[in-house]
């Protein structure tokens, strides 16, 4: 098998939890995370600004056989639908890859990590911020 390339960055153009972060700042956060975790960072792909579009994420998932994994700027960039997220976890893990979220410093590298990620997303859905 050919050598896998590294970890693809994934940034977004939509607000997250009501906040907007400039795309170049998202890249800085991912690059810094990759450096600290000793991951080989590959240039980020930016998700569409259209609500509900995950076409760019799907392209990265298609690329997984050539990657070691992906680094999301934030775990909250994952689709809101739980079933769709679980398919993403399955694809990442079955390809022998891992999934990272830079802001939250989350690594999903085995099925044991899934519930912790889902707990964060679920709490975020219901908890309010003052």
């Amino acid at each position: 098998m050919a050598e896998r390339a590294g970890h693809r960055g994934y940034i977004g153009a939509r607000p997250l939890n009501g906040s907007r972060t400039p795309q170049h700042v998202q890249n800085i956060v991912i690059r810094d995370y990759a450096r600290r975790k000793n991951l080989h960072y590959l240039l980020s792909a930016a998700e569409h600004t259209m609500p509900g579009s995950y076409m760019v994420l799907e392209d990265i998932l298609d690329e997984l056989p050539r990657l070691r994994g992906l680094i999301l700027y934030s775990i909250f960039m994952l689709p809101p639908d739980e079933a769709r997220r679980r398919k993403i976890y399955d694809r990442v893990l079955s390809e022998g890859c891992d999934l990272h979220a830079a802001v939250e410093e989350i690594t999903l590298s085995s099925r044991d990590n899934i519930q912790a990620v889902e707990d964060i997303l679920l709490v975020n859905k219901f908890a309010t911020i003052l």
């Binding site: 907007r20 400039p22 600004t49 076409m55 760019v56 392209d59």
Partner: protein, 268 residues
């Protein structure tokens, strides 16, 4: 009907080409400036590769695939990108390459992307592809245009492709039923046009149209730069004023207008 138009005939023709085709290509307004950029890019590439500066920058760039591996390509690209953008003359020169076209298509009070991007595509390399996209989908304003400048001759897969304006709307309407950008490319593929641009020319294109690149299947390496321009007072999207764009041409009347305050202190 009046016998005197607001626009000159050549401006009208250029504007119509842009509307109809989604792009215009023209000889660089400042050919010496383009040659200076090309020469500096070749010098920076030579520095990265620890080679002496040569006297044929075109050949150095076009055959870079004989000197650099895919693994080292992004390091080379970043070195040249940072080196060019660090030159104080670089962005003004880049603007001057296409100034007359930008002013006809966009206007004469302008802001410019803060960093000019650089792409290098080695023959056969699939590591630095841009999937089918419109810049607007990732946070650019539909009021922006892209000035795209090759540092070598580009044609077929050594260039970029663009979907014509007449088809873009229909294809956008079908997007939500597609899963990935690759599926989108397969849908638009029969209609996408690879744009041939000889070195010495520049292209200005409508970045709301779908575009991208594929694996370079030609003999030489592609080197191209791209940079966004927009009318300074037109609406911004996620690529904001200050953090992504900065003003380059602001006219005195606008400065006066922005500073003007009506007389105050009335109590009647």
């Amino acid at each position: 009907m009046t016998d005197t138009a607001f626009l000159e005939a050549d401006e009208q023709a250029l504007a119509q080409r842009f509307i109809d085709d989604g792009f215009v290509t023209t000889p660089a307004d400042d050919r010496a400036g383009l040659d200076r950029i090309q020469r500096r890019a070749a010098e920076l590439a030579a520095d990265f590769l620890k080679l002496p500066h040569g006297n044929d920058p075109y050949a150095m760039l076009d055959t870079i695939h004989t000197r650099v591996s895919v693994d080292d390509l992004n390091g080379l690209r970043l070195h040249v990108f940072n080196g060019l953008n660090a030159e104080p003359w670089f962005r003004p020169t880049y603007f001057r390459l296409a100034r007359s076209t930008i002013e006809t298509i966009v206007g004469n009070e302008l802001c410019m992307q803060r960093r000019v991007n650089l792409s290098i595509q080695l023959p056969g390399d699939d590591s630095s592809l841009l999937a089918t996209h419109s810049d607007v989908w990732s946070g650019d304003s539909p009021f922006e245009v892209v000035v795209w400048v090759p540092l070598v001759d580009v044609h077929r897969t050594k260039s970029m492709y663009l979907l014509p304006p007449s088809l873009n709307g229909d294809m956008q309407d079908r997007m939500a039923s597609l899963r990935s950008a690759e599926e989108l490319y397969q849908t638009i593929k029969p209609h996408a046009t690879f744009i041939e641009i000889p070195y010495g020319h520049v292209m200005l294109f409508n970045q709301t149209l779908m575009h991208g690149n594929r694996v370079n299947e030609e003999a030489g390496s592609r080197w191209s730069m791209n940079c966004r321009f927009k009318s300074i007072m037109s609406p911004y999207a996620d690529k904001r004023f200050g953090e992504f764009f900065e003003p380059i041409l602001l006219r005195p009347a606008t400065r006066v207008g922005m500073q003007y305050k009506l007389p105050g202190g009335f109590h009647g």
